[in-house]
Assembly symmetry: C2
Homo-oligomer: 229 residues x 2
């Protein structure tokens, strides 16, 4: 069996990141326009290869950082894709990750440099290789996650209004939610701090800003509280 190690075929291990952002209205993904062959000029996910000295999570971090300048981003492994000819250049296995980022914080210059652009899910162009499937899987994973835990605080700025939070949920779940029911549920979770501050940009009256209370959330989660919206 030891021989099996040496006798076995090594492969290139790629990573691809589905990067989600939320621009106060819609869920978006960040795509790059390839300026190299194969598939030059087509849109794709940002990707890279695993290096010897890092594990997959670290590689995903590095790749995400390269494009956005962001560190300590929410990243989760999605699935591994291995169709033999998925990459026409060489046999590669790709491990897909998805990231949730605050769309206001990424480094504009960097993403310009990579020819990257934000697309709303519905208007995203067709992607190279098997990237379309990856995106589809990522969305359904995000939707699932939403049904199990209060998701999306990574996608919002630190201070946000209830309206924004609701729009985020609506755009992840692809359905309209009732304002009162939504607020009741969120309040029942008791994981937000209502600030004295108001966001005056959206109306004359202004709407209160909230912050996510990470500690409270952690405690509730440990107690097995159900955060379903």
């Amino acid at each position: 069996m030891l021989d099996e190690y040496s006798a076995s075929d090594k492969v290139l291990l790629a990573l691809d990141c589905i990067i989600f952002g939320f621009d106060k209205e819609e869920l978006k993904i960040l795509l790059i326009k390839r300026d190299f062959e194969p598939e030059k000029g087509k849109w794709s996910l940002i990707g890279g290869f695993l290096k010897k000295e890092e594990n997959l999570d670290e590689a995903a971090d590095r790749i995400l950082n390269k494009l956005t300048g962001l560190k300590n981003v929410y990243l989760e492994q999605l699935h591994s894709y291995s169709k033999i000819d998925r990459d026409p250049v060489e046999r590669t296995i790709s491990v897909a990750y998805y990231a949730l980022i605050n769309i206001e914080e990424h480094n504009e210059k960097l993403i310009d440099q990579y020819g990257a652009k934000w697309f709303s899910i519905s208007e995203a162009p067709g992607l190279i290789f098997d990237h379309d499937i990856m995106v589809k899987h990522a969305i359904s994973r995000l939707r699932y996650k939403t049904s199990k835990e209060p998701v999306g605080f990574e996608l919002l700025p630190p201070k946000f209004t209830m309206k924004q939070l609701q729009k985020l949920y609506e755009s992840i779940l692809c359905e309209k939610l009732d304002k009162r029911n939504f607020i009741n549920k969120i309040n029942a979770m008791d994981i937000l701090v209502k600030l004295d501050e108001k966001d005056m940009s959206s109306s004359r009256k202004g709407s209160f800003l909230y912050q996510f209370d990470h500690d409270k959330y952690k405690r509730k989660k440990a107690d097995g509280f159900d955060f379903k919206v």
Copy 2:
């Protein structure tokens, strides 16, 4: 960027299978006793390496077949594990799969030959490398799956009693279920065929046998029916 292909490090890609079975009482997993170094004599999952001419699903199939003699088994990719020193011999990434098999159908001789043995989840020994974590993840995935679709018909013989089905659910979910509520729910799903046959082994009265109706299930699933138990 093309250079990146050649400049990047290739790695060994391993697969490990968590094989679930159900022996009418308990959920079990199939483990093998290693008869080679490293970690000779310790228990582990069955594993293998990806070959050039196959994708991951095919490799998992092949590995499972090698141990159990079974084909066309329910197999699902779980997660990829990549800690740098997870395998002391050489850097390997492992993609874990889990399988659901009918415990009565596997090839006894084959598994003896590999020094494999069924363990109930609670009594399983500690495993090599990161295999314990894989098993933990697999169980929680199975539990999740159970909450979304009628699971476990792969784990049961073609004909089974309601009692058996209930025990299976109980052992996956780790909780006692109410007999009447369980039967009502399963019947409401309307995906079983009640046979005229009875299983007389468990009682004097005998209990009716049921079969899973794959076609009905597929149709209901397509209609978005909710199979939560």
